[in-house]
């Protein structure tokens, strides 16, 4: 383990997003991208699991530069304007749990936050860190996928808005460039009181990485899903947006859907594997189960 290496890293604080973007651009041009540190709940653990720095042959000569963004005001705050919710990238799960705006208009985010790690992780972990690490098991990413959120990134080249469907490009890979900072996520909110769904299946209720998790957001009018957003964790190399299930469920009145066609759509959209946490078979079983449960809540008989 290389926790001892932590003392070799240089850490800086910056006054705002402008200076941060400049440092990011400078370092990215040198081929040594800056590491942003928010809650540290992914990054610090990764350092422990990494081989020691001196073994990493061919790496940058100087230890990587770390910039603390945990209290950078440009990355913080939860604000509601009209039907758009904006959540700063450095917002913690605990802050989301305590936010009146989220409780009223995006309850799925609060419910998801309660299932991340335990209180200690919720107090430090951030949405930005969850998005940047881009684990297929990331609970926050699944919830943001269900909202079809937009990820706002900034660099010296300007602002770029990335739809959730274009964020993850592979296992733990994103389309964020090395000089881009995730600033916030924006959500076009469904009508107040719209149905939502969250179900996380893990080894225990706390401190458990999802074997399968499903987030859902819907608007139902006259028995039809006028809007249906889904995000499923741990069933593919990236967060699964379940496009076939979405397409099927908005195509006809919900009451006309059959269990068999829903299962077939789920099978098309996921490619789970056996790993330390679960098996492919169990994940497939859970995935079908949670999608059907969600649809029953919307009035389908599946």
């Amino acid at each position: 383990m290389s926790l001892a290496d932590l003392r070799l890293f240089e850490m800086r604080h910056v006054a705002g997003l402008g200076p941060l973007c400049e440092i990011m651009a400078e370092r990215a041009a040198l081929g040594a991208p800056v590491t942003l540190l928010a809650g540290g709940t992914d990054w610090v653990v990764e350092q422990e699991l990494r081989p020691p720095l001196e073994v990493a042959a061919g790496g940058p000569a100087a230890p990587p530069l770390v910039v603390d963004v945990s209290r950078l005001s440009d990355l913080r705050g939860i604000s509601l304007s009209g039907d758009t919710l904006r959540v700063g990238a450095a917002t913690t799960y605990l802050e989301m749990l305590r936010s009146d705006a989220i409780a009223a208009r995006a309850p799925l985010l609060a419910r998801m936050s309660r299932d991340v790690g335990a209180v200690q992780i919720q107090a430090r972990g951030t949405l930005g860190g969850n998005l940047a690490t881009a684990s297929p098991a990331a609970d926050g990413v699944a919830a943001l996928a269900a909202y079809d959120a937009t990820v706002v990134v900034q660099s010296v080249r300007g602002e770029r808005r990335i739809p959730m469907s274009a964020l993850q490009t592979g296992y733990k890979r994103t389309s964020r460039a090395p000089d881009e900072v995730i600033v916030a996520v924006e959500i076009a909110l469904p009508a107040p009181g719209s149905p939502w769904y969250w179900r996380k299946i893990g080894a225990r209720r706390a401190q458990a990485i999802s074997k399968v998790a499903l987030a859902g957001v819907a608007e139902v009018r006259s028995g039809r899903a006028a809007r249906l957003g889904l995000g499923m964790a741990s069933v593919a190399p990236t967060t699964a947006l379940l496009p076939s299930v979405r397409a099927l469920c908005v195509s006809r009145p919900l009451a006309e859907l059959t269990g068999a066609e829903v299962d077939a759509a789920v099978a098309q959209d996921i490619s789970p594997i056996d790993d330390v946490r679960s098996t492919r078979g169990y994940r497939e079983h859970c995935a079908r189960g949670v999608v059907r449960e969600l649809l029953r809540q919307l009035g389908a008989q599946v």
């Binding site: 890293f9 610090v44 422990e48 603390d68 335990a118 209180v119 200690q120 992780i121 706390a206």
Partner: protein, 160 residues
């Protein structure tokens, strides 16, 4: 890097590499060894302290992120040599055996009681879910926290 923070109510300064863990600052230069190290990866909660009132894993917080912040450790719970009501209840109700998890348990419970004076059993279990104990089977710990809640509501006095 010099960092000024308030530890258990007193202003302190440490001079450490900025990515040193808060845990190392506490157990090292600050001399507060009540905070324990278990897993070093956020799983066990033995290193739990309060940062501006909220429980965090001191093994995952960089000291360079603590400028100006308030940290409470287990040493900050007792007042003038007297155990806090919460600590007394852990002693009296059998909430501690080997004691390794106890400082972390106490701080998670302290944060809960500060916000929620009359927590249900489920709320206590949820608040302590990030703290692992190898000895007690948890029931006694949950009972200790609920007894402390009752004591505090009855005027037993809050910890500083």
């Amino acid at each position: 890097m010099k960092v000024s923070l308030v530890v258990n109510g007193s202003p302190r300064e440490v001079d450490l590499p900025p990515l040193s863990r808060l845990l190392d600052a506490l157990r090292g230069p600050l001399g507060l060894t009540g905070t324990k190290e278990g897993c070093a990866e956020g799983e066990c909660g033995a290193c739990t302290v309060l940062l501006d009132g909220d429980p965090v894993n001191a093994c995952l917080v960089a000291i360079g992120q603590c400028e100006g912040r308030r940290v409470t450790t287990v040493e900050g719970l007792a007042c003038a040599g007297h155990l806090s009501p919460l600590q007394r209840c852990f002693v009296e109700e059998g909430g501690a055996q080997c004691g390794i998890c106890t400082p972390g348990m106490l701080l998670s419970a302290e944060a809960l009681l500060a916000r929620s004076p009359d927590p249900s059993e489920l709320e206590v279990r949820e608040a302590l879910a990030g703290n692992l104990c190898r000895c007690t089977g948890y029931q006694r710990i949950v009972e200790s926290v609920r007894a402390a809640a009752a004591l505090r509501r009855g005027g037993g006095g809050a910890a500083p």
